[in-house]
Structures are given as structure tokens and as C-alpha cells.
């Protein structure tokens, strides 16, 4: 097993393990998968529940994965990963990684029970949640990780509601509350940080969890070329954070000196464009509350 830290593009292999997929141009989720698989190397088993990545890469006869990959049942990613790991162990395979890529719905809503069970069992698996903040594959429906004010097809913005009501579920906190050995949040806007976290997860001897923000140009409504920039701005304006949970401690990896403008971040995306001053104020208050807690309780 290659246990070298990968922290920049120079360390990455030139070989692609996820190639020729049919995801939209400028897809953030496919970038998250591609980078993670490049860090973990060719000896991996991949399980993917129903999400964009399975829908765009297992199109018989075209298979975009050049490693062992399978589609798991929607709610069972964690259980399937545990099963693959047990199978590999029984076969005496040691130089491998078992990794799952679930979307935000497949993690926070539908797959949360299997994920919880997998963390509880503590098998050596890596669970990556690529978070595009709605069920994008089926046509942009609200999920548990859709933020306040986001317009989706099941939470249309209008007179009665300003898009999604309720806050984004704190999935990172939920996973950390299991007493997991290693969990982290990342964003494809900061790819080097993401690479480092994936290689750290690869060194972990038990279950590890990475939550990566993966902007979706189709669902969020921004030009395809801005995917990485939007992911970066989400962190800079404080609506997303880069953090790790390790040995019982929360560690903040990036502390913006000054937050960039929230309204500018929101106005770039069609899903937030309807928001008025009042809603933006509410989002700002939510951010400041979260950061107050972070600064007080986390290692900064």
C-alpha cells in the first residue's frame, strides 16, 4: 500500500481511473471522484449508490471506471463497503482500499443508517460524501443537505416559501459524534487540501469519512467554467468550512481573515437569485452563529 502523502498536482499519477464519463461539462462531483481515485491508486474497490456518478459512468457498454466498481443499493453504501472489505480480507488481499462515493442525499438522508453502522463496525473503509446540496441526478429535489433559501423543484421559491426552509444538516458533526477516528470536510475549490485529506484517510486503519463540497453547474445555475471558483468562494464567504475531526478534536484548517460577501456568492447562482435582503440577512446570521461555535470549541 502506498502510504505517501499527496498534497499537490505534481504528486498525482498521470493515469486516470475515471475516464470518459457522461457527467455534465464542468461537473464538480466527477472532479471529486477523479482526484480521490488518483490519490488512492489502482488497487481500489469502489461502491457507488444511485447518484449522478453511477448514472453517468455505467452506461453499458461504456464503463468509465478502470478499477473494480459497482453500483450499490441506494441506502446501503456503508454496508456494501463493509462487505467488500470483509470479502477482500477473506481472500487475503491486503494492498487495497475500499472506497464509496455517495451524494448528499445518499449520505444524509437515504444512506445515513448504513453509514452509521459502518462507522460503528469500524472496518477499514473510506466513505466520501460528495455534496452538491440536492438530488441532482433525478432533477434537483431538496435533500437534507440543501441549504436555506435554495430553489429546487420540490421547494420552488415563491410567495409562500423562499426556496428550501430549514438549515443544512450538520453531517460532519453527526459523523464525528460517532467517535470516528478520522473525518474531514473539504471543497473541490481547494483541491490540494482535499488531496491531503484523502491521503490521510487512506492511512487510517478504520472507517474514515470525507465530506467534499462539489458544486453542480446544472443544479446551482452558474456557468460551467466557474465550478472550482464557486467551491472556493463557498469556503471564503464562510458558508462552508474546511475542517478535520481527529482523535476527538475538531480542527479548523482554513480560517478566512475576513469573509467575502455572502450576497455576491449567492447572486452568482440561479438557485439563490430570488433571495431578498431579509433572507440573505438570515443566512448571514446562521453563518455567524456557526462560526462563533467553531471559534469557541474547535482548535483553530
Amino acid at each position: 500500500m502506498d502510504e505517501k502523502m499527496v498534497t499537490n498536482a505534481g504528486d498525482l499519477t498521470n493515469t486516470e481511473f475515471f475516464y470518459g464519463h457522461r457527467a455534465c461539462a464542468g461537473c464538480g462531483g466527477s472532479l471529486a471522484l477523479r482526484l480521490a481515485m488518483k490519490v488512492l491508486g489502482p488497487r481500489i474497490f469502489v461502491a457507488i449508490p444511485a447518484n449522478c456518478m453511477s448514472a453517468t459512468s455505467f452506461l453499458y457498454p461504456q464503463v468509465s471506471f478502470s478499477v473494480n466498481a459497482m453500483i450499490s443499493p441506494f441506502p446501503a453504501t456503508g454496508a456494501v463497503l463493509s462487505g467488500i472489505e470483509a470479502g477482500a480480507r477473506a481472500l487475503g488481499i491486503r494492498d487495497h482500499h475500499v472506497v464509496g462515493f455517495a451524494g448528499d442525499g445518499g449520505t444524509a438522508d437515504i444512506g445515513i443508517q448504513a453509514l452509521s453502522g459502518a462507522i460503528d463496525r469500524g472496518d477499514r473503509i473510506i466513505y466520501v460524501c460528495y455534496d452538491n446540496e440536492a438530488y441532482m441526478n433525478t432533477g434537483i429535489q431538496k435533500s437534507g443537505l440543501t441549504p436555506y433559501g435554495s430553489r429546487t423543484t420540490t421547494t420552488p421559491a415563491g410567495k409562500n416559501i423562499p426556496g428550501a426552509v430549514g438549515r443544512k444538516k450538520d453531517m460532519f458533526g453527526i459523523v464525528a459524534a460517532h467517535g470516528i477516528k478520522y473525518a474531514a470536510t473539504a471543497s473541490i475549490g481547494y483541491p490540494e487540501d482535499y488531496l491531503r485529506k484523502i491521503s490521510k484517510a487512506a492511512m487510517c486503519k478504520t472507517t474514515s469519512y470525507i465530506h467534499v463540497l462539489a458544486p453542480c453547474s446544472t443544479g446551482w445555475g452558474f456557468p460551467a467554467e466557474e465550478t472550482v471558483d464557486i467551491g472556493r468562494e463557498a469556503v471564503d464567504c464562510g458558508l462552508w468550512y474546511l475542517a478535520e475531526y481527529e482523535k476527538g478534536d475538531f480542527i479548523l484548517n482554513r480560517k478566512p481573515k475576513e469573509f467575502s460577501s455572502i450576497s455576491e456568492y449567492l447572486k452568482r447562482q440561479a438557485r439563490f437569485r430570488h433571495l431578498g435582503e431579509k433572507e440573505i440577512e438570515e443566512i448571514t446570521v446562521g453563518r455567524d452563529e456557526k462560526w462563533k461555535k467553531i471559534m469557541k470549541n474547535w482548535r483553530v
Binding site: 498536482a9 498521470n14 464503463v63 483541491p191 467554467e225 472550482v228
Partner: protein, 103 residues
């Protein structure tokens, strides 16, 4: 360039020829180049090989194995992330079939 090849695929004649359960991974039978409206072109003179484009390409079509960075146009969808992220402006997006006009 070290990128997977596209293979010829023979359609199954009967239902018995379809794979049951597993299928060979890494089988590419069709290119994605038809998706593209704009084509990224690297100015190798300006390029400082920081590998930023290689890092952020969602499709992994930028190859770093050679002397200069190369783009696999068979699978580039023309999203423009590489040009947007390039810090020295070495990548321009050209309209397909119209070589004179940069975006």
C-alpha cells in the same frame, strides 16, 4: 499521450451474449467530443506547467506525461474550467470549427 483507447464494440446478437452481472471495466466505446462548443487551446509558450489545469479538469483530459501539457480532445467537453483557473492565461477557449475567434 497516456489516455485510454476507444475500442470497437460488437453489439450482442442475442440476449445470451449480454453479460450477466459483471462487465469488463474501463471499456470506452464512444467519445465525448461532440459535446463541445468551445475548445481549450494551450499556449505552450505561456504555460509555466503549474499543473493547475491538470488538477482541476473534471474529465481528466489533460495529460502531463509529455514535454508539454496535452489535451485529449476525444473526451474534452469544453467546460472551460482549465481556462478559467489558469493563472497565467495560457489557455484560450476557441469556438469549434471557427479557428479565428477566441471566447
Amino acid at each position: 499521450m497516456e489516455r485510454p483507447l476507444v475500442v470497437k464494440f460488437k453489439r450482442p446478437d442475442s440476449i445470451r451474449d449480454y453479460p450477466c452481472g459483471a462487465f469488463r471495466v474501463g471499456t470506452l466505446v464512444q467519445e465525448n467530443s461532440g459535446w463541445r462548443v468551445f475548445r481549450p487551446v494551450i499556449d505552450t509558450g505561456k504555460c509555466i506547467k503549474c499543473l493547475r489545469c491538470f488538477l482541476v479538469c473534471p474529465d481528466g483530459v489533460i495529460d502531463k506525461s509529455g514535454e508539454d501539457l496535452e489535451i485529449d480532445y476525444r473526451f474534452c467537453k469544453g467546460c472551460g474550467v482549465c481556462a478559467y483557473e489558469c493563472k497565467v492565461g495560457a489557455i484560450v477557449m476557441m469556438r469549434e470549427g471557427d479557428d479565428g475567434n477566441a471566447r
